[in-house]
Structures are given as C-alpha cells and as structure tokens.
C-alpha cells in the first residue's frame, strides 16, 4: 500500500481552502490511528457513504475501527463521502479520493469496506468508488483491484447493489471482519486471483458473493429462481449472529472529531436487538435476538471513554433502551459516578420513571430537552396492526409527567401510509396533537412555551419484515395525505414536519429491488445523482429518468403488493427470522391482532431453530 499515486499535499491544501468545512477532511483527530502504511500487511478502508459528520456519529464505525486497528497486521483507515464542492474539486484536479489517516487513495487498499445504513446513500457508494479510482462495476475489477465488501442493515437485500459489491457481509461484524482480513491475507500469501479470493471469502459465515449465484426471471419480471452457479457456496448464506455481545470488544478510545459531529458524545451500546416486534421495523427483525451488556462492563467502557475523550455527555444506544433489564441500575450508577466529573447522561426518553427522575433532579443534570414519543400510528386499531403496543392513555400519561417536570417540548413521531391506513387514522394523529394542546392550556401551572412537533415519515415496506409483501401508497396518495395533515394540524402550539414523499417512494423501490435495480442506481449516478439524502442535492427527476432509460417500472417495486408464493430478491439470504413467521405476523396484522414481546414467551420467529442462538 505505497502511496503510488503520490498525492500532491500542496494541491490538497489549496483545495481545502476552497471548500466548505475543510476540517472534515484533515484527519489526525484524537484517537485516530497514526501508523505508517508499512506497519501492516492488510489495509482496510472503512468507507462511510455519507458525510464525515454522520460517519463520526456512527457507532458501527467506532466499533469496527477500533477492532480492526487492534488486530495485528491490519491497518484500518476512514474514507467518507465528500461534500459536492470537494467532490468536484477532487475530480477537476485529478486527486483520487483518499483516506483521512494517511491520505491513501482508495484503490491502494486491500479491502474497501462500506457500511450500508440507508438505501439513499447508494449513489454515494458509486461516487466514492469512482473518485477513489476503483472500478465501479464488480465485473470490471482486476486481480490487483481492492476487494469491495459491504455490511450494515441495508445489505440485507444485497441484490440492488450486487453489481458493485464483490462480497456482502450480513450480521454482527465484530468477528466476521477480522476473519475477512485473515482470509484476504492468506489469499494474498497464496497469490490468489480475484475469483479464488472471492471463493475463499464465500466460506466465511455471513458472506454472500453475488457472482456465484444466478438469477432467472419470469416473463412478468418476478424472480423464477436463484441458484448457486458453483458447488462450494452455501445455498442460502446465513446472517452472522454472535450469541453474546458481552465478550465482544467495544470502543474504549473513540475518535474525537475536530469539527462537531451530529452526535458529539460518548455512546454505550447497552443492548443489541429488540423483541417488541413492531411489524414495520426492519432493525427489529435484523438484529434479533436481544443481547445485553452487563452494567459492570458498561461502566468500564464509560470510564475508559471518558478518560480518552473528555466528552461531557454519555448517551445510551439500543433499539429500545427502556427494555434493557438493568436500566435503572445503570442510569443511577452512571449519574452517581459521572456527575462529579460534570458528565451528563442523556436518557432514553421513553422511560422516565420516578426513581430515575429523582436521581436526575438530585444531580440537577436534566437538560430541558423534552419528551419524545413514537406512537407511529394515530388510532389504536392501526397501532394494533403494526404491533406498536402503546395506547392513547399511555401517551397522555407521559405528556402529563413531562409537563409536571417542566418539559414543554413534546415531539411525536408517526408513520403515514401504513398498511390498511384510512383517513380516520390520520385524524387520530390530529386528535392526539389536539388533546395535548388542549390539556396544556387547561393547566393552571404549566411550563412556558408549548411546542408540539408532529413529524410523519412515510411507510417504506422493507425486506425481512412482516410487511415485506405490502404495497406502498403511490406518490399522489402520499402527497394528498400530507396535504390533509398540513391542513388539519393547524393547532395552537403544534408544528408539523413531513418527510419528502419522492424520497420515500424511491427508497421503497430500491430497498425491495432486484439485480436490475443496479442499472437504475448506476444510471442515476451517471446523470448526476449523489448525496440524495440531502434535500439540496436530491433530484427526483434524475431518478425518474434513470428508471425510464432502463425501462424499469418504479411502481413494480414500490407500490405493488406481492403474493406469498413470489420469490423475493432477498429470499436468497437466511436472515435467521423465518419467512413463515413473517407470514404469520402479516396475517395477524390484517386482523389487527397484536403479538406479545417474545421475552414473555417465544413466538417462534425462526431463531429458535438455530443452535444456541436464542431460547
């Protein structure tokens, strides 16, 4: 990994003077590894396909960065998606996209590893590859090209990106990524070419190498079959599931960025997985089963991180922190130990029970932030459909408590366009906002400055959820519903935010796409799409054209209901949760039947069939 292209440092400096927020490109932060390139024999570019500020807030990156750099012989460096101004200047000046640590061009790494957090980042992946001098298409790569891999939740349906990624890694990455490095090392030592290397990689549990599988289609565009085209690969690559996360390494010395990241604080992952079973939620299915870290080790990590970073705030991370078995104990211990050091603990807002409240008031560390609730749907019926077990009574109880402790800022998150939704359900959203507003003004003693923020996102049916077969509302319907809510939510103290409808429709199409979707993504990128998740850069027209140019019908992917017997593009992956369970859940949804949290009794989601993983 020599700096073959000899990046011109002076040129980079002069470019940095011209771009917005140059500090995000300089590297050298506290905690960043500072090693010569020749100190390792395997180089790994950890690529985050969005801006630095988001990358540096991402827990997965913190975890893997530290693990990989602690692995003998491995050097892991970070590469982020540049902002448009930087992208243009790099291109104009023929400077390849480089890593933050050693300013190494992307194409000089052994492994180029992306994390996929969001489908609307896919054009950024193409941009980074091209800018980094790596062939965009997997099939164009040579024996000396890097191996391009991807992991993260948006990989669970790998097919839309299968033309660009050599190997996908599904599931918990802590051990898997080390195995990948070892595998590449032994391939290098043996002098393997690309195909042999990929074959070796495909033997790692959790890896899916698309080129070893062939897809045949029916005349109507649905999939006829997906079959391995060589013998030695698994029929259905299975997600990597670590039985316990307690023994997996967790960051002790995370990087402290120079420029403020979106989340500029310590993070403790208290628990992985969620058993609430919300039927729209992909993360809830992808990260099963629930695995907790012990209070003791979390305290250790907190101490280490505080020493290493000097951060003033600790936040707890999980899909549903209120469900963590020792939440009260943990919060009390954190506050007891860290308030002396003037470190505040930001709490999972859903659970402010009396004890914690007491502890908080004592330490007077309550930030006057507010209450955040995600009822997701406006009526009890629809909440039963999606299995979100929260009632209007619960909501009002929490709001009451919040007003009592002096919060006047209430944030409510809803999803719009859920299966079976009618205007009655939208009225339910309006009613909740109205009730809160009226209740507030009925109080004699109330905190100042009521602010109710109602935000709606648009339902995007996702692979590996009980709603994976569902249709999404078409664009027109979504826009009409948003208009309706805009008009109905003109209530004192209420502000309404909605999510860009076009973006959600595209997300739905791409998320459930097959291999053909790759042509659309490629076409959109070639026509200038990138940084699509940023309003100022998103252009729906470019994408519409890309679908048209490739003769691919967006509605086929977004707003078409699938039959149970249809082979879905992601069926090739064994995510651990069974198709049968998802079907059962979908049927219960149709009858508005809820399903209990499976910690109160196994619901047979499929994981019970995998030795020793759950129950």
């Amino acid at each position: 990994m020599n700096n073959l292209s000899g990046i011109d440092e002076r040129l980079i400096e002069s470019i940095l003077d011209k771009v917005d927020r140059p500090a995000r490109y300089i590297g050298g932060e506290l905690g960043a590894v500072n090693r010569q390139k020749n100190e390792g024999d395997i180089s790994f570019a950890f690529c985050f396909p969005d801006t630095y500020e988001l990358a540096m807030s991402h827990l997965g990156m913190k975890i893997l960065y530290e693990i990989l750099n602690d692995t003998p012989g491995v050097i892991c460096e970070r590469v982020c998606m540049p902002w448009k101004d930087m992208y243009v200047l790099l291109k104009e000046n023929n400077i390849p996209l480089f890593s933050l640590e050693n300013r190494t061009p992307l194409n000089e790494f052994d492994i180029v590893g992306f994390t996929f957090q969001y489908e609307m980042n896919f054009t950024n992946v193409l941009a980074m590859l091209e800018l980094g001098g790596v062939e965009i298409l997997s099939r164009d790569r040579k024996d000396n090209s890097p191996i391009v891999i991807a992991g993260g939740p948006s990989c669970c349906n790998p097919e839309p990106m299968s033309s660009f990624i050599d190997a996908f890694f599904m599931g918990d990455g802590e051990r898997g990524n080390i195995e990948i490095c070892e595998c590449i090392r032994s391939a290098k030592q043996k002098g393997f070419g690309r195909r042999e290397t990929l074959l070796l990689l495909s033997q790692i549990q959790g890896i899916y190498v698309p080129e070893f599988y062939s897809v045949n289609y029916n005349n109507d565009g649905t999939i006829k079959e997906v079959v391995p085209n060589i013998d030695s690969v698994p029929q259905n690559p299975r997600r990597r599931i670590e039985k316990s996360i307690e023994d997996l390494p967790f960051p002790k010395k995370p990087i402290v960025p120079f420029t403020q990241a979106v989340h500029d604080r310590m993070v403790l992952e208290i628990m992985r997985g969620c058993t609430q079973g919300c039927r729209f939620c992909q993360a809830g299915m992808l990260y099963r089963p629930v695995r907790e870290r012990s209070v003791e080790s979390l305290m250790e990590y907190a101490r280490a991180q505080e020493k290493a970073t000097g951060y003033e705030e600790i936040s707890l991370s999980s899909l549903s922190s209120g469900d963590y078995s020792h939440i009260d104990e943990l919060v009390e211990k954190l506050i007891a130990e860290f308030s002396k050091k003037r470190v505040s603990v930001s709490l999972p807002s859903l659970r402010l029970d009396s004890q914690i409240k007491g502890a908080l008031e004592e330490a007077s560390k309550v930030k006057k932030s507010g209450l955040t609730l995600a009822p997701e749907a406006g009526t009890q019926r629809l909440r039963d459909v999606i299995n979100k077990r929260i009632t209007n009574y619960d909501i009002m109880q929490r709001v009451k408590e919040a007003f009592e402790i002096g919060y006047s800022n209430i944030k409510l998150y809803f999803m719009m366009g859920l299966p079976t939704e009618t205007y009655e359900d939208l009225d339910g959203i309006v009613n909740i906002a109205k009730c809160i507003s009226e209740y507030y003004y009925s109080l004699h003693k109330r905190p100042k400055g009521l602010r109710i923020t109602v935000s709606t996102s648009t339902f995007v049916p996702k692979p590996f959820t009980p709603f994976q077969w569902a249709k999404q509302d078409d664009l027109e319907t979504i826009l009409k519903k948003q208009e309706y809510l805009r008009n109905s939510l003109r209530i004192k103290g209420v502000q309404y935010n909605w999510h860009e409808a076009e973006l959600s429709v595209l997300e739905a199409a791409i998320a459930r796409g097959d291999r053909n979707m790759g042509r659309v993504i490629y076409g959109a990128y070639k026509n200038g799409a990138m940084l699509d998740s940023w309003r100022e850069h998103f252009s729906y027209d470019i994408w519409k054209k890309a679908f048209l140019d490739n003769n691919i019908n967006m509605d086929f992917y977004s707003s078409r209901e699938r039959e149970y017997d249809e082979i879905l593009p992601w069926d090739i992956i064994d995510i651990g949760v069974s198709r049968d369970y998802l079907m059962r859940e979908n049927e219960r949804a149709k009858k508005a039947q809820t399903t209990r949290d499976c910690r109160q009794g196994c619901m047979g989601c499929g994981l019970q069939n995998i030795e020793g993983v759950c129950v």
Binding site: E13, I26, G28, V256, F258, G310, Y311, E312, K341
Partner: protein, 217 residues
C-alpha cells in the same frame, strides 16, 4: 490563579474553526486532570479564554490563552499534562502564572504578526510592498452591519516586509481596530494589479501595548 499559556496550531489544523478549537481545548483540559475552575450557573464550563480567534485557514505559532485554575500547580506540570492530552497539531509551548485580577489576554491585545507563505508565485505583489506602504491612506471596503463601508486600512498596518519569499505583516488587532489578514492580501494584490496568490497565513505572534509579547504582558 490563572495560567497564561502559549500554544501553536499547525498548518494541518488551520481548518479547525474557533469554536471547534475552544471545544478541543476544553476537552483536552478535562482529559488532562489539570484542576480547572468552572463557571457557576446552569451550564458550567471551564473558565478558559483564547486571546483571539484564528480565522479558518490560518495556523498559529504563538497563540495565547488564559485558563483559570482551582488549585495551584506549577507551569511545568501545566504544560506537560496538557500536552499529553492534546492531539497532534496543537502544542503548549510555555505557561506562566497570573493572579486572578490580571487583565484577560483578550483585553490586552494590541497587534498580531502574520506571515504569509505563498503556494503560488507572488513576486509581483512582493515587489510592490514598499510602494503600497508609502501611501498615506489605503482606502478599502468591508462588510459591516450597515452594508459595505469605506475605511482606511493604512493606520492598521504597523509594518510590512518581505523575507525569504514570505510576506510579514504587523497588523492592528485590538478593540480599536482590527485588520483581517485576508483583507490586506486582497488590497495588496489589487494595488499590484494581479490576482490574489494562493497562500497560507500563519499568525506568528500576538502583542500587547507597546509591542510587548502578549505572553509577557
């Protein structure tokens, strides 16, 4: 007790903005375990003040800051411990004690010395330095709250010289008037009739009244 410290900001870190540098110092002090004093009030913060913000894009050789301490420690300890917690690119060069009543570095500021290192040929502006300085007034425009206003930058320039291809400027930096290093180069380039060359500005020293180095004031 207060500690007045001199520190440097490397060229690589010249892109870090003032608030980010403040946050960086703040966290380094926290990590170091140096007994710092906090402000009282709802959101307590370390009593730390940097003498003068460095504009984004500018490096600093001898920047100055004041830190209020809650316990007495030696200068040596202060320098050592803080350096141990700072990222590469920011170094504490020296420190000296002041009593609590000593005026803040910020209020003692008078002038700054700037060195411009050129990345593109700058001969045509360098050869114009003397002629530029011989003028009695140098009228220029700058943005203010009321829109663009005219002002005379000549009295804000104490000295301008060339050495080894670099330009050195001694510029006013005080409550009475401040000249931005970038404005000087713009004006000088337009005087020479050439486009603005590429350069990196380094603030090499800060001065108090009578050009006493700020760290000695």
């Amino acid at each position: 007790m207060k500690m007045r410290a001199v520190y440097s900001v490397s060229k690589r870190l010249r892109h870090v903005g003032h608030l980010d540098l403040m946050r960086l110092m703040h966290r380094a002090l926290r990590r170091s375990g140096i007994p710092v004093a906090y402000s009282s009030g709802y959101n307590p913060h370390i009593l730390l003040s940097l003498a003068a913000p460095l504009n984004v894009g500018m490096a600093g050789d001898r920047e100055v800051m004041d830190v209020q301490l809650s316990e007495v420690i030696t200068e040596k300890e202060f320098v050592q411990e803080l350096n141990n917690s700072l990222p590469e690119g920011v170094r504490i060069l020296s420190a000296s004690k002041r009593d609590d009543k000593h005026p803040a570095a910020m209020s003692q500021l008078f002038a700054a010395q700037i060195r411009y290192d050129f990345l593109s040929p700058a001969d045509s502006i360098l050869s114009n330095v003397d002629a530029f300085m011989q003028r009695e007034s140098i009228m220029s425009k700058r943005k203010s709250k009321k829109g663009m206003v005219e002002y005379d930058m000549r009295p804000l320039i104490y000295a301008l010289s060339v050495n080894d291809g670099a330009l050195y400027a001694l510029l006013s930096l005080s409550s009475k008037g401040t000249l931005k290093p970038a404005s000087l180069i713009e004006e000088l380039s337009s005087f020479a009739g050439v486009p603005i060359p590429q350069y990196i500005a380094v603030r090499t020293a800060l001065y108090a009244d009578k050009f006493i180095p700020l760290e000695e004031a």
